[in-house]
């Protein structure tokens, strides 16, 4: 571009210029964070959150010995497409460690946390770089990640380091038994699919449409529900069935086409299997004349939509979630723990918070049982504290530790209501709860079923 070189070079202005757009964006929405804090969470939880006292969990010193002190790694999405799930999981880990430390810590020492960003599948290099950093600082075990894709990407690294990776959320069927160091405690997709599929059939639905996002989580759940529906003999899948390729891309931003295609098949029930995209799918369905009461949600979108939708939009919608949907008390505690440990706002979604809590507690109990916080010992003792040895049921770290100190076998049953691990380190049984929306919140508990493999 000759002719534009002549003018002076104002370097300072340039440097400012580079950051200007950023600064502008940041300023123009000043205060954006604080109002958003109150959006997803109900106002009641924010009120009670202040009443819950949760102390900050100490950060791990890199020099500390990970075999005598529980150094818990938290590998949780802080950026990217699943970042909205991050706060609840961070809160779950921090809350568990808070409760553990209040009960005297693990092996007589306060447990500490080492949090890094698991990012998302499209940032594979960063996921791996971050977990290497975490492993380099010698953690006893790691809670995370939430995405099955990220799990696949970091498994070779974790295997190499022989460190326990305990995912509170990765549900892809292909991860079953994939590594001796990989544990997980979300109820497998098949449990939820069985429970929700049964509910759909029992509700007398005969033509079911699936709006599924193209992700292992989505397609696993859909496949499971589809088989329950087909086996019933009274119902069929009219849209979005397996092999029809009618799933939408997980990065989709407009749903008019999917919704009209689904409605063209004249369904009497629609199952929405998605994450935050649900906020965009609901208006498209309602606009097209669909009665939302005939819809079903899954754990990934069983959220409170009061801040996003007109009053009463979702009344009647049913949805399933693993264990119990976090109660208001647990929500308040998760939010308090997240804030006490440097979280900026309240979580907007609470999915997998309970699982993260249980995962952390199980790891701590395994360390107590093996009298060592070394990863190899935790790995060996995790099945036992989850109940594979048929121990006494206990529901908190302090109660379980008491039993362990008395030399008894235990079965920890936490917030997520899961049973012991099976031989492939998936949980062998778990409870799935069905909730119904009143207004825009899934507040009415309908039933819970026990599913096992």
């Amino acid at each position: 571009m000759p002719g534009y070189r002549s003018t002076g070079r104002r370097l300072a202005a340039l440097a400012m210029g580079a950051t200007a757009a950023v600064a502008l964006a940041a300023c123009s929405s000043g205060g954006g964070t604080s109002p958003s804090a109150s959006t997803g969470a109900s106002s009641s939880s924010s009120a009670s959150a202040s009443a819950v006292s949760v102390k900050a969990v100490p950060k791990c010193e890199s020099g500390a010995d990970e075999t005598t002190q529980l150094k818990l790694g938290a590998f949780i999405p802080l950026t990217g497409g699943l970042a909205f799930l991050g706060p609840a999981a961070v809160g779950g880990v921090d809350l568990a460690l808070n409760d553990i430390n209040e009960a005297g810590g693990v092996l007589g020492k306060d447990a500490c946390v080492n949090l890094v960003d698991s990012s998302e599948t499209s940032q594979a290099a960063l996921s791996v770089a971050n977990i290497k950093k975490q492993l380099q600082s010698k953690v006893s075990a790691i809670v995370g990640p939430e995405s099955s894709g990220v799990t696949y990407n970091v498994l070779p690294t974790v295997n190499g380091a022989k460190t326990v990776l305990f995912s509170p959320a990765a549900t892809d069927d292909g991860l079953t038994g994939v590594s001796p160091y990989f544990f997980r405690n979300p109820a497998p997709n098949s449990f939820e699919a069985s429970a929700l599929g049964s509910q759909i059939v029992a509700d007398g639905r005969t033509k079911v449409a699936f709006l599924t996002f193209n992700d292992p989580y989505g397609t696993n759940l859909r496949d499971g529900m589809e088989s329950v529906i087909k086996d019933s003999g009274s119902a069929e899948v009219v849209y979005g069935a397996k092999g029809k390729n009618q799933e939408f891309p997980s990065t989709e931003t407009n749903f008019g086409s999917d919704v009209s295609a689904a409605l063209a098949t004249k369904p009497d029930a629609i199952v929405i299997i998605a994450f935050d995209q649900t906020k965009q799918i609901i208006p498209a369905l309602v606009s097209a004349g669909w009665k939302m009461g005939n819809s079903y949600f899954v754990d990934g979108n069983l959220n409170d939509y009061s801040a996003d939708l007109p009053e009463g939009t979702l009344t009647g919608v049913k949805g399933a979630t693993q264990g119990v949907n976090p109660s208001p008390e647990l929500r308040a505690k998760l939010a308090a723990a997240y804030k006490a440990n440097g979280g900026s706002s309240e979580p907007t979604a609470y999915g997998y918070g309970a699982e993260a809590y249980d995962a952390s507690t199980l790891i701590a109990l395994a360390a107590e049982k093996g009298k060592s916080a070394a990863s190899e010992d935790i790995r060996k003792n995790l099945p036992a504290v989850s109940g594979t040895t048929g121990g006494e049921i206990c529901k908190s770290f302090s109660a379980c530790k008491q039993l362990l100190d008395d030399g008894k076998e235990i079965q920890y049953q936490g917030y997520a209501g899961t049973g012991p691990f099976n031989s492939k380190r998936d949980i062998s049984s778990g409870y799935i709860s069905i909730y119904q929306y009143e207004g825009n919140a899934p507040s009415k508990f309908l039933t819970s079923t026990k599913e096992s493999d």
């Binding site: 070079r9 757009a21 929405s29 007398g204 891309p249 009497d268």
Partner: protein, 450 residues
């Protein structure tokens, strides 16, 4: 007494038969049945399975999905069958204390007139302790006097032409919204030669500012819209003043500038995450019903109208006004335009302002019509904006409109023949094919290719 005895007997016998077939025999099953429950099967108003009971339940509905009341349903497992009538909501449920196979049958004679079973009257149900085992009968025909709820299933035209027309309308809507974003991208390229990868982040900005003003601060939507457009346009002005003009003066190459926009794109995406988090934010909490010939929401019609008016306005501005002619002169030959007394920097500043303002408007309308905005909405749209601009012919306003409409229609219509997952791939494929045969785009001029 006899019934109870039989019940206990069946409870004892039952597990022996089905335990083999059932995938997970539970040790507690037989013991609990034998523990003295009066009956293995009980008809219950609602079902609440516990660890020691299982539930068999269902709902009878007619073809209009209205509940069928008073029909007799019977559950049996070798022993005495237990019958119940469906409730006013059409529901029936049994609680059983033993896992295994049961036979559920529907008494056809008790169905209301006009209803026939669609798929047999008997089901084999496998009950699992602690779980719900669903049972259903598809019924054909509608009940006499049953209220037909016209809204129960939407009435949309499901004929082949109806589906086609529906996709056309969705394509036009998407195309017109894309055009608002594409035209700025095209104008900036036309006047400065810059492929701005951060342009779609300006679209996202419009959506988020809409959320801040219309939802968080509660400003009336139209007023919020005006504020958003003005603020977004200002970001264009300021951006050109602080970044792009100094860089032009430094003589940065176009490739270099393009990489700068990639950096800006990355930074802005994480700024949005930093401020707004990872979720979807709405710009309006109201939901409207689809209406009219295109079967879209009133807001969508308004958005389309705004888009058409604005695009015509920009087209006229470029064709008819002095500033427009100067812009085209800069686009055609910048040194010549400068030599003939046109203030090139001022024109480019104006183009940036308009481009950012229109992008903001596009983001606001996109979030309004499609139910919200997220940090990566723009990044995903960029993959449609670039093809739209390239297809239409880079640097022409009208071309951006045509290209956007093509992309909008292709992505939506391709769902009729291709799988939904491939709709964006189809748009990109069309782009590659067009570029191979007509590199200048549909409306572009040959000279730009060289």
């Amino acid at each position: 007494m006899l019934v109870a005895a039989l019940g206990v007997l069946s409870g004892l016998l039952l597990p022996a038969l089905p335990a083999q077939a059932s995938s997970s025999p539970t040790p507690s099953a037989s013991s609990s049945a034998a523990a003295g429950d009066s009956s293995a099967i009980r008809a219950t108003a609602t079902c609440a399975q516990t660890d020691t009971t299982a539930c068999v339940a269902g709902t009878l509905r007619d073809a209009d999905t209205n509940p069928v009341r008073g029909a007799t349903v019977t559950l049996a497992a070798g022993g005495t069958p237990v019958a119940t009538k469906t409730s006013a909501e059409g529901t029936f449920s049994f609680t059983v204390t033993a896992a295994g196979r049961y036979t559920l049958s529907l008494d056809e004679s008790t169905l209301p007139e006009g209803l026939t079973p669609g798929n047999g009257t008997e089901r084999t149900i496998t009950a699992r302790l602690g779980a719900l085992s669903p049972a259903g009968f598809a019924l054909e025909g509608a009940q006499q006097g049953g209220e037909t709820d016209p809204e129960a299933t939407p009435q949309g035209d499901t004929s082949a032409f109806g589906r086609f027309w529906n996709q056309v309308s969705l394509g036009l809507l998407l195309g017109l919204l894309l055009a608002l974003g594409a035209i700025g991208l095209s104008l900036v390229y036309g006047t400065t030669g810059l492929s701005n990868f951060a342009h779609a982040e300006q679209v996202t900005l419009g959506g988020f500012l809409g959320y801040v003003f219309a939802v968080q601060l509660g400003v009336p939507f139209v007023l919020a819209g005006v504020i958003v457009i003005v603020l977004c346009a200002l970001t264009g002005t300021v951006q050109d003043r602080l970044i792009w003009q100094p860089l032009r003066r430094r003589g940065l190459g176009l490739t270099q500038l393009m990489v700068v926009t990639i950096g800006l794109q990355l930074a802005l995406q994480y700024v949005y995450q930093f401020i707004f988090g990872g979720g979807v934010r709405p710009v309006s909490r109201t939901i409207q019903a689809n209406t009219g010939p295109l079967n879209i929401t009133p807001n969508a019609y308004i958005a389309m109208a705004i888009s058409v008016v604005v695009l015509i306005g920009v087209g006229l501005l470029l064709q008819r006004t002095r500033i427009g002619r100067a812009t085209r002169a800069v686009a055609d030959n910048r040194p010549l335009a400068a030599a003939s007394g046109i203030d090139v920097d001022r024109i480019i500043r104006l183009v940036w302002t308009i481009a950012a303002g229109l992008a903001g408007l596009a983001g606001l309308l996109y979030a309004l019509v499609y139910g919200g905005i997220a940090w990566n909405t723009g990044a995903e749209l960029l993959l449609l904006l670039f093809p739209a601009v390239t297809l239409g012919g880079f640097g022409t306003a009208f071309g951006a409109l045509v290209g956007s409409l093509v992309i909008g229609l292709v992505t939506q219509l391709s769902s009729l023949v291709l799988t939904a997952q491939l709709r964006y791939a189809s748009a990109l494929l069309i782009l590659i094919v067009v570029l191979i045969f007509r590199p200048q785009g549909i409306l572009g001029r040959r000279s730009r290719v060289g």
